[in-house]
């Protein structure tokens, strides 16, 4: 599989503040990668570096194998977190601008998307709500049949029906071979749409893996004891254990791999019961952001 979005050892500092530190992330062709992270984790800065809006302090960015050049933008669509439309122009005028700027602009597709988002093309952008402005940005982004889509919080301000439609648009684009990198606060969107997830915390990548591989590997091993047992620190300190919790007679080890082996080791302490529990992406996200230990799982 070709790597379409390649970020190598990217760092961006603003004075003393490290917005992004040594970020390496590759997104392969046709993949949808969801970028998650708390506010201020560096998601938007990463996008700005990707698009050349701001110059990285160090590192390398390749889109479709090449450094950013004017031709890159012919097949790249970007939807910023805050709309960058012209308030005084109508939606129609924005379409006209896109028609003149992009060789692959598809007017029928744009009109179709406008009606799906229930937008009146005669309206000026300044008369639209924030959600409607996001929708216009999305219509423009998807009307040029892009090969690369970079979407910063693409569903923000949209109602649940339109949010679902944004996911449909990403799925459709991916099925047609486009590569998508998007950020979101809504983990369920990533869980649905993305085959890959990257989690940033304070500018650093704390997790980068296939969503399905993560769910296969990340488990909780839960053991119930009749009394408190000494010596469990060896389990708590195992490199495979991300987080270790003890509440009364219940012990939980959050592991990022080898749940079966950790279970066997816990059994040696003679628990009353022991079980392996699944984790959804929200649990995994919270564990990664709280513990912050870096792990990477590779594609099989």
């Amino acid at each position: 599989m070709n790597t379409i979005i390649s970020i190598g050892d990217l760092s961006k500092r603003y004075g003393d503040f490290a917005a992004v530190s040594n970020l390496t992330l590759d997104v392969t062709e046709g993949s949808i990668c969801g970028l998650l992270g708390p506010n201020g984790a560096g998601k938007t800065t990463t996008f700005k570096c990707l698009l050349g809006f701001t110059r990285p302090t160090s590192g390398r960015i390749l889109l479709d194998g090449k450094p950013l050049e004017p031709a890159t933008f012919e097949r790249l669509s970007y939807v910023p977190e805050r709309s960058s439309l012209y308030g005084w122009m109508t939606i129609d005028q924005h379409l006209e601008l896109h028609r003149r700027s992009f060789e692959h602009y598809d007017d029928a597709r744009a009109r179709d998307l406008l009606s799906t988002f229930d937008l009146d093309p005669r309206k000026r952008v300044q008369r639209l709500s924030k959600g409607q402005q996001t929708a216009v940005s999305l219509v423009l982004a998807f009307s040029t049949r892009p090969k690369i889509l970079i979407l910063d919080e693409p569903a923000s301000g949209l109602d649940p029906i339109f949010q679902r439609f944004v996911i449909d648009l990403m799925i459709d684009a991916s099925a047609n071979g486009a590569t998508v990198l998007f950020s979101s606060h809504q983990i369920t969107q990533v869980e649905r749409a993305a085959d890959r997830v990257a989690i940033l915390k304070k500018g650093r990548l704390v997790l980068d893996a296939e969503v399905d591989a993560l769910k296969s590997d990340e488990k909780v091993v839960e053991a119930v004891f009749d009394h408190t047992v000494p010596g469990l620190d060896v389990i708590a300190n195992d490199v495979r254990v991300r987080r270790f919790e003890r509440s009364g007679r219940i012990v939980r080890a959050y592991v990022h791999t080898d749940a079966g082996e950790i279970m066997r080791r816990l059994v040696e302490f003679g628990p009353r019961s022991v079980n392996i529990l699944d984790l959804n992406l929200e649990d995994i996200f919270l564990n990664a952001v709280e513990a912050g230990r870096a792990t990477t799982t590779e594609k099989p």
Binding site: G30, D168, I171, E191, V211, D212, D278
Partner: protein, 138 residues
């Protein structure tokens, strides 16, 4: 074709595992017949609102397992001659084994011994496969 599959992206079970189980189950139950065409990767991804690469992976693995066959340009089809054939039988085995594994794992985690579990299984077998049952020896 209206989809007969449902997946839960919020579950901790990988989506490809969920979808693969569902398709195997549909074949084992006869909801999908041998020779029947499956939706395209794109159509099923949009129908279920899940990543197309996940659907493509499921189709690849089902093809590798001999459950479906894909011919370029025509699409993917259910293989074999249904539950009576070897393929269909193996699919049914897979589905049943999956459910039984979960149940036995649960019993073990509750601290039941092998003998206890064997006794439960025996009781259940007697209940669901009574003497002279049509499926008793098949």
């Amino acid at each position: 074709m209206a989809t007969i599959f449902t997946v839960d992206p919020r579950s901790g079970i990988p989506l490809y595992v969920q979808l693969m189980d569902q398709i195997k189950r549909a074949i084992a139950l006869g909801a999908l017949s041998p020779g029947e065409q499956l939706p395209t990767v794109k159509a099923l991804a949009l129908e279920l609102t899940i990543n197309p690469n996940t659907v493509a992976r499921v189709y690849r693995e089902l093809e590798r397992d001999g459950v479906i066959e894909t011919s370029p340009g025509r699409g993917s089809f259910v293989r074999g001659d249904g539950l009576t054939g070897n393929d269909g039988r193996r699919v049914a085995d897979d589905v049943a084994q999956h459910s039984l594994t979960d149940a036995i794992r649960e019993a073990r985690s509750l601290g039941l011994g092998r003998r206890d579990v064997e006794a439960i299984v025996q009781r259940l077998l007697d209940r669901w496969y009574p003497p002279n049952d049509v499926l008793e020896n098949s």
